[in-house]
């Protein structure tokens, strides 16, 4: 069967699924699924014989649901349960922020309040991962503007990297059994100590399988007194980090994405830190092709002025075709595609609901 490019688009009003041929010329749109209910996280799981799509449906009335599709997003059904805390824990699930493939076919879910859950049976039952969820810091983490969210789950062999806002980067080197805060070199602008052990407002973490040990973070930057803390890199499995923000128009932003075929090529969307919109009203994705030593802006196809959109932490992704395309969604409902690694931009959908997340998969 011919390969298809599938986008899962989590919005304030439900999940949309867009599908195209490999040419990525025209995308058909389906949805919304979980109509009217915010979706912050989705996953296209391609590990089995056929792809399975999962999405967190964050129902403010009736609680969290996990939606699942076995037909590439034509229909969805709720799984038998969603992650939930034990009654004696005292916490109540407020949101599902990340869905990622775990080991041995598991699905892992990062939630609010910041905790990690795993499912062995395709999302029908869930179990808390205590090493991070009950970490000694867990009851002291503070919510950022988006809530106290565990938004990034990155696996690198036996290592597991977790991003929490506001908690920082946590690292497990035993497959997720135990975790330690690992934020040396990641700064904060909202506390007297610029480089605390933990408590950073990490926005997103990205890595690349061809460069084990190397990771990039879009951190909460934009502090004039503490320049450069917003975009950092690690080359030692996340034990230490250093700034790579020089050359960017702002070190504030939310998403960070690595090119699927080149771990030196990384993309960010700098935003003006107070308004969290395009600096000067001029949208641009910024690209480094040398691991953050220098940056150039990618603007072809974007409006040249009077454009003030916001791209949230999970709202940008890149496909893994030979000439990959970037995709991002805005909180004003636009879905953009940047073909040739972001060299040429085009708006695919102009008026979706506010977009929280975008995932792409070739199936």
């Amino acid at each position: 069967m011919a390969q298809k490019v599938v986008l899962t688009i989590g919005t304030k009003k439900g999940l949309f699924v867009a599908q195209s041929s490999k040419s990525r010329g025209k995308f058909d749109l389906r949805g919304p699924f979980g109509r009217g209910i915010p979706v912050y996280a989705s996953l296209v799981d391609t590990r089995g014989k056929r792809p399975v799509i999962y999405a967190g449906s964050c129902n403010p009335f009736f609680g969290m649901k996990v939606l699942k599709s076995n037909d590439v997003g034509k229909t969805f059904e709720e799984t038998k349960s969603a992650p939930s805390f034990a009654k004696e824990d005292g916490r109540a699930l407020a949101n599902i922020w990340s869905l990622e493939p775990g080991p041995d076919g598991e699905i892992w879910a990062g939630v609010e309040p910041a905790s990690l859950f795993r499912s062995w049976d395709g999302g029908n039952s869930w179990e808390m991962v205590p090493g991070i969820s009950n970490h000694e810091h867990a009851r002291k983490w503070q919510p950022g503007a988006g809530g106290l969210c565990l938004h990034t789950i990155l696996r690198d062999g036996e290592r597991v990297h977790i991003g929490i806002s506001t908690g920082g980067h946590y690292l497990s080197e035993d497959g997720g059994r135990t975790f330690a805060a690992s934020n040396k070199g990641i700064g904060v602008g909202f506390a007297p100590d610029a480089f605390p052990e933990w408590g950073q407002c990490v926005h997103k973490i990205a890595g690349h399988p061809k460069a084990p040990g190397r990771f990039y973070i879009q951190n909460h930057g934009g502090f004039p007194d503490r320049p450069g803390i917003g975009v950092v890199r690690s080359d030692d499995h996340g034990h230490t980090w250093r700034s790579i923000a020089e050359g960017l128009p702002s070190d504030f932003g939310f998403p960070i994405v690595v090119h699927p075929h080149d771990p030196d090529t990384v993309y960010v969307v700098p935003l003006e830190p107070m308004s969290r919109t395009c600096p000067g009203g001029k949208p641009a994705v910024w690209q480094s092709e040398n691991g953050g030593k220098s940056w150039k802006k990618l603007v072809k196809g974007f409006p040249k002025e009077k454009t003030f959109f916001t791209v949230l932490r999970d709202a940008m992704d890149i496909d893994d075709l030979k000439a990959p395309a970037l995709y991002f969604g805005t909180t004003t409902g636009q879905l953009w595609i940047g073909k040739d690694g972001g060299e040429k931009w085009k708006c695919l959908f102009e008026a979706l609901p506010p977009i929280n997340s975008v995932k792409v998969s070739v199936v």
Partner: protein, 91 residues
Amino acid sequence: MSVTIHLPTALRKYCGGSADLPISASTIQAALRELQSTQPSLYVNLCDETGAVRRHLNVFVNSDHMRDRDGLDTALRDGDVVTILAAVSGG
């Protein structure tokens, strides 16, 4: 006390399509405990993990909101109808 739980359309799929569930309970709290036991899929839509009624749900006994009586301790009488409604909110 023999009472009826009346459910909004959106929740009926979690209890086999029923709009009305007859149960025996002496307070709203006891009614929720009964639902937790007999209708667990429905219950998780009504209450969070701590046992609190979800924030955007309203619980009425006949015509009275439970907050205007004794909250979860509101006593139920034979024939009472406990109506659960989602708040109308959002943008």
